[in-house]
């Protein structure tokens, strides 16, 4: 059982959460006119082995979107932060 340390609710079981999306994907600039960057953004994903950043939704808790560090090989869970804070840091 994966357990996730929600910054709002504390340590909870995976059953309270739903997986959202790959959190490493970056949207192309809105003035991007080439097709391939948009195809990559919408459809193409890596399938990494090891540590990865993922969006998870605490749907049965605080309903916050989270950015979770998870090892796809071992299911180890690393840091868990509010997506809003991560996005602010990136922008």
């Amino acid at each position: 059982m994966i357990r996730i340390d929600c910054p709002i609710c504390g340590l909870r079981t995976e059953t309270e959460f739903t997986y959202g999306a790959d959190a490493t994907v970056t949207r192309p600039a809105m003035d991007e006119t080439a097709t391939q960057p948009w195809v990559d953004y919408v459809f193409n994903r890596d399938n990494p082995r090891g540590w990865h950043l993922e969006y998870w939704h605490h749907v049965q808790g605080c309903r916050q979107w989270l950015v979770l560090e998870r090892n796809t090989l071992t299911h180890e869970v690393g840091s868990c932060r509010l997506a809003r804070e991560v996005d602010h840091e990136a922008s």
């Binding site: 709002i8 609710c9 504390g10 309270e16 809003r84």
Partner: protein, 196 residues
């Protein structure tokens, strides 16, 4: 405004059920006088402050601690979201920075009382609901049968479960089934009214 209905009343047949012996749990419901959700964005705390002051609350509160005002109970359920039970119509506080939503008809309260109330609850949720981690005056949001619920510790042996009204009957059925080995009592609506 139409008074909120208690959808479980027709299904709560007073009586003693399950295993013999001392009644371990009393299961019931209570009326929600009014329930409002306020929500906002990055300036939420600033935007909510006038409303919270009007409700007699010191601030937005903690994520795990029930906040009690003179006539209002509040739960901070997210960084920019608070549930308030008891206030009058809050629509006048709505602004471009603050959303107010009347949830009075959208939630039902199931009450558990008795020496085994926490034991019963621990069988149906994945969080620790012992008095050590859910002390009196605290609350927790979690899943029960895949349904998002809010658990509030009203006393050492008294827990309230705020359930989406559309799921109230299902959750009640699950609680009653799990309470059979313990022995439980359904409180009469008259008793419930007298207690609230």
């Amino acid at each position: 405004m139409v008074d909120p209905v208690i959808p479980l009343h027709a299904n709560l047949v007073p009586g003693r059920y399950g295993a013999d012996g001392d009644t371990a749990v009393q299961i019931g419901t209570r009326r929600i006088s009014s329930l409002w959700q306020i929500a906002g964005w990055s300036d939420f705390e600033h935007a909510a402050q006038p409303l919270l002051v009007a409700c007699g609350l010191a601030g937005p509160g903690q994520y795990d601690e029930t906040q009690q005002g003179p006539d209002v109970t509040a739960w901070r359920i997210a960084p920019d979201k608070i549930l308030l039970e008891g206030p009058p119509d809050l629509t006048d506080f709505a602004s471009d920075s603050l959303v107010v939503l009347d949830l009075s008809h959208a939630r039902t309260v199931i009450t558990l009382n008795g020496a085994e109330a926490r034991t019963l609850l621990s069988q149906v949720v994945s969080v620790d609901v012992s008095a050590a981690t859910l002390p009196v005056g605290s609350f927790i949001q979690t899943g029960l049968h895949g349904v998002g619920v809010l658990l509030q510790a009203r006393s050492q042996n008294g827990i309230e479960i705020f359930v989406p009204t559309t799921w109230a009957q299902t959750i009640l059925d699950i609680l009653c089934q799990n309470a059979m080995p313990l022995g439980y009592e359904i409180m009469s609506p008259q008793t419930i009214h007298a207690a609230t």
